[in-house]
């Protein structure tokens, strides 16, 4: 997973390095294993690294940047031909990125109009195969930026502005907020924007494929202060929590959420059943998103550091524990061990605010391995016992569907065994 960012200052007085730094910081919950910045020079220059300090190189008034959840060379490509230089940055590792860049340079050498070159490159790729083209950011050495949201629309792209001075394009509205900008538009799938010093215009390519926003974007990936395609992430999560609470058929004393993502779900849940919502855990050493970590050991370390329990709140109580999703169950297992043995809860009822995950993601937006998916391998009775829970509930597909419909959303649910939720 990733966060894309492009900042275009129309006034050359700006040096964007610090601005890009904070913009990337507002996106690092989407992955912080690889940072990338590209700037127009004589040629386009890209610098990547494991540290946000790469933003120091983002000098100048035009920058394309990104942060990724894993290190991969095929997330971006830079090349030059006949004085034209271009960087292509994809929302995720893309095996065709080299080929795409070459084709784009071909087209750019045929036409002086970079946007037309980009459009014809996309259509050539579509002719060749109905293959997945990810959302892309392109930077040229003529200081042009082209941003484009994939036909699939699995991840969002939002356009913002800062006064008369800057256009900001980001995977999430948080970066626009943090840079003091105003959110202006959520780009539609297939929609894009061309920005240069003296011209900026929106464009749309073809018809969007029959595809929706990835449910994980709203479920887990976006920050709860974000607005995704016009939907408040916080409201959406609370509403799923309310739906989830309808499954409760036992008495509980209190409701807790797995930090941090699941807190809005737990709040919605608690408000619905009229029981107190409590903060059950405190984190040590800053926030890390455990689900985005590839290495299983690092992942477990991150979980352990996030989960020091507030014992007095929980000891001897009947606890409803809410989480947004359950992939391998390793986080939940860890928490249940903490709650059972270190705290001594009386009852543990686990509520998952999404349906059971049973398939891989065909678009590789979320890295899932079927043999590790708890719901794909364990019966519900076995899962309950493994997690040492008194009960285990998943939100039904119908419940997600009704919430998505209420927002007019169409959400991709392939890993949950359904094409779409909503609309």
């Amino acid at each position: 997973m990733s966060g894309l960012l492009a900042v275009y200052a129309f006034d050359e007085l700006w040096n964007l390095s610090n601005i890009v730094r904070y913009g990337l910081m507002a996106l690092q919950h989407r992955g912080s294993q690889q940072y990338l910045i590209c700037i127009p020079h004589n040629d386009v220059k890209c610098i990547d690294g494991e540290n946000i300090e790469v933003s120091n190189s983002a000098i100048g008034h035009v920058v394309v940047a990104a942060t990724f959840s894993d290190r991969n060379d095929s997330t971006f490509y830079v090349d030059s031909r006949n004085g034209k230089s271009v960087a292509v940055v994809a929302e995720k590792a893309w095996s065709k990125i080299y080929e795409f860049t070459q084709q784009l340079l071909n087209e750019m050498n045929k036409s002086s109009n970079s946007l037309e070159a980009f459009k014809s490159t996309i259509s050539l790729f579509l002719q060749d195969s109905a293959e997945f083209i990810p959302s892309l950011h392109v930077l040229t050495n003529s200081r042009e930026v082209i941003v484009w949201r994939s036909f699939y629309g699995l991840t969002p792209l939002v356009l913002g502005s800062y006064g008369f001075d800057m256009a900001i394009v980001s995977s999430e509205s948080t970066a626009v907020d943090i840079l003091g900008g105003d959110v202006r538009r959520f780009l539609d799938p297939g929609g894009g924007l061309y920005i240069s010093r003296y011209l900026a215009k929106s464009f749309k390519l073809g018809k969007p494929f029959n595809q929706g926003l990835c449910l994980f974007e709203l479920l887990y990936l976006a920050r709860h202060d974000a607005v995704v395609d016009g939907v408040s992430v916080y409201e959406f999560r609370k509403l799923l929590g309310v739906e989830l609470a309808k499954n409760l058929d036992k008495d509980v004393d209190l409701v807790v959420g797995v930090p941090e993502t699941a807190l809005p779900y737990a709040i919605g849940f608690a408000q619905r059943i009229g029981k107190p919502f409590e903060l059950a855990f405190a984190a040590t050493g800053g926030k890390r998103r455990s689900m985005l970590l590839g290495d299983p050991f690092e992942k477990i370390v991150a979980i352990h550091l996030k989960m020091n329990p507030v014992k007095s709140v929980l000891e001897g109580r009947r606890v409803a524990l809410v989480d947004d999703s359950m992939v391998t169950g390793s986080t939940m297992k860890t928490i249940s061990q903490i709650l059972r043995f270190r705290v001594g809860v009386k009852e543990l009822h686990i509520f998952i605010a999404s349906p059971p995950l049973i398939s891989v993601c065909p678009f590789n937006v979320v890295k899932l391995d079927v043999q590790n998916l708890l719901a794909a391998n364990l019966s519900s009775e076995l899962a309950k016992n493994y997690l040492e829970a008194d009960s285990l509930y998943w939100l039904s597909k119908e419940d997600v569907d009704s919430v998505a419909s209420r927002y007019g959303l169409k959400l991709c649910g392939r890993c949950f065994g359904i094409d779409f939720f909503g609309r």
């Binding site: 040096n15 008369f164 256009a167 003091g180 003296y198 900026a200 929106s202």
Partner: protein, 496 residues
């Protein structure tokens, strides 16, 4: 009736269209800086004549006027007013519609306008500080926070830097830009010899902007319907400030995001300013006047700046909806007989103006100038829209060339925003670049999405200003500096 129109752009073309509909069978003479094909045609078709003259040269314009001996002279733009054209014409005994040099100070000097509002305690005023000296300005900006930096003189509606500075972590970066911008602006303002103060640092406000225009003879104020202009160059309110890329109006006297109380309050502010101005200069204000307003959480209706003339492109919105004899209105204002005059408009209609500009506008006039264009007027008129020629010149070869600013304003009318939006998007397609140089317009202006945004923002600031009003805090911003005291001054920033 012989009318001399002074000015070269889209505003004057709109005025010519409004004037020629009069029952007084006007012959329109035009004094313009370059051959505006639209104005030229209005003149020829009405039996008048076009003149090429420097519109900021009082003597040159007086000479044209003496040759024609018109019954009424209408001075469109602000620069001729600043340069004394209206005064010279009046001294020579002509009946003139247009603010005098002294009255036009309200537009020319933003310091004058702001000071006037403070002196007379007029609502909707913002905190500001003005500078003659660059070092003093740089020293002040060292500690300034959430501000707007403007040229102290009207400079074609450009040069405003809006720097939201509510994030301490980016304060230093913005500070660097503030400083270098002040240097840049001082250098640019050196060219103007007619003003003491060079730059203005002003409290930043946010909300929705709109323009309130009036016609006055110094005692009667005749209100025009509200209009909203769109200053950002590019779609979705992105990019540099322009003179305006398009404007919306209607239905009726207000806009969908401004209510009648706010309209009334706005007109109260506008008339209070005119009264205060006349008391200061000791002259009647004769001509058009406009408040560039913003509905803000600080005040509700708030003054951003004033125009001592009709707004451009705002006046273009009037072309399809004015029912009254507009020439009669202008004539009565100019001869100070406006009392009892009424301005009737089509209150059912919605109007939408879209400007088309060459790439390069507004930042680089050189890149934007000298490109041949073709305008398929017949197709535009088939759609029921009216093309108004602006920064476009007819050359000796009969071709039209861009002059660096907005080339044309196309005004359409309809029964709803949906209808007028569709029409105007079809209409702007009939403006062609003949040398491949890109032309642009804003597709989003007049769209229901943008309108919904405006309504949402207006609702938000309405909640804020009403609650501030209930607490007696309208216009006030307190800053507490421990050890020094509480100051009513929002220009103080994070850096200390």
């Amino acid at each position: 009736m012989k009318v001399l129109l002074v000015g070269s752009g889209g505003r004057e073309h709109a005025l010519a269209k409004l004037i020629r509909r009069s029952t007084q069978e006007p012959r329109i003479f035009v004094a313009m800086d370059y051959r505006n094909p639209g104005l030229e045609r209005e003149a020829v078709e009405t039996g008048g004549e076009p003149y090429i003259a420097s519109t900021i040269d009082p003597e040159a314009i007086a000479k044209v006027a003496e040759e024609i001996s018109p019954d009424l002279i209408v001075v469109g733009p602000e620069e001729p007013q600043f340069h004394g054209v209206t005064d010279t014409l009046r001294e020579k005994g002509f009946i003139v519609f247009g603010a005098s040099m002294k009255c036009s100070e309200i537009e020319k000097s933003k310091v004058y306008a702001r000071s006037l509002m403070w002196k007379h305690s007029i609502d909707g005023r913002l905190y500001f500080k003005a500078f003659k000296d660059i070092e003093e300005a740089k020293k002040f900006i060292e500690f300034a926070g959430d501000v707007v930096i403007k040229p102290a003189r009207q400079a074609g509606g450009k040069g405003v830097k809006v720097l939201r500075d509510t994030q301490a972590y980016l304060a230093r970066d913005r500070h660097v830009v503030k400083k270098s911008y002040i240097e840049k602006l001082f250098a640019e303002m050196e060219g103007y010899r007619d003003i003491d103060y060079k730059i203005l640092v002003e409290q930043r406000v946010e909300g929705v902007e709109y323009t309130a225009m009036v016609v006055t003879d110094g005692s009667t104020f005749l209100q025009l319907p509200l209009v909203q202009d769109h200053p950002h160059a590019f779609e979705f309110d992105i990019g540099p400030e322009t003179g305006g890329m398009g404007s919306i109006q209607g239905p009726g006297w207000i806009l969908p995001f401004i209510n009648f109380d706010e309209y009334k309050k706005t007109m109260e502010i506008v008339s209070n300013v005119l009264k205060a101005l006349m008391a200061e200069v000791g002259e009647p204000y004769v001509g058009a006047f406009a408040g560039q307003m913003m509905l803000t959480g600080v005040w509700g209706p708030t003054v951003i700046e004033f125009y001592s003339r009709f707004g451009d492109p705002e006046i273009s919105n009037m072309v399809p909806i004015v029912v009254s004899d507009f020439l009669d209105v202008l004539d009565r204002a100019a001869s100070r007989r406006l009392a009892g005059a009424k301005l009737e408009i089509d209150e059912e209609a919605v109007t939408l103006v879209k400007a088309v500009a060459p790439a390069g506008y507004p930042g680089n006039k050189k890149i934007a100038s000298g490109h041949p264009v073709y305008i398929d007027e017949a197709r535009i008129k088939e759609l029921g829209c009216e093309p108004l020629y602006a920064s476009i010149e007819m050359s000796v070869d009969g071709k039209l060339y861009t002059k660096g600013s907005r080339i044309i304003e196309i005004v359409c009318r309809g029964g709803s925003y949906e209808e007028v939006y569709k029409k105007s998007e079809l209409a702007v397609k009939n403006v062609y670049s003949l040398d491949g140089h890109p032309l642009f317009h804003r597709r989003d202006i007049g769209s229901t999405e943008l309108l919904a945004d405006r309504i949402r923002v207006a609702e938000k600031v309405r909640v804020v200003y009403r609650s501030r009003a209930a607490n007696g805090l309208l216009g006030k911003i307190f800053v507490w500096i421990p050890g020094e005291g509480v100051f009513d001054n929002p220009l103080i920033g994070f850096i200390r």
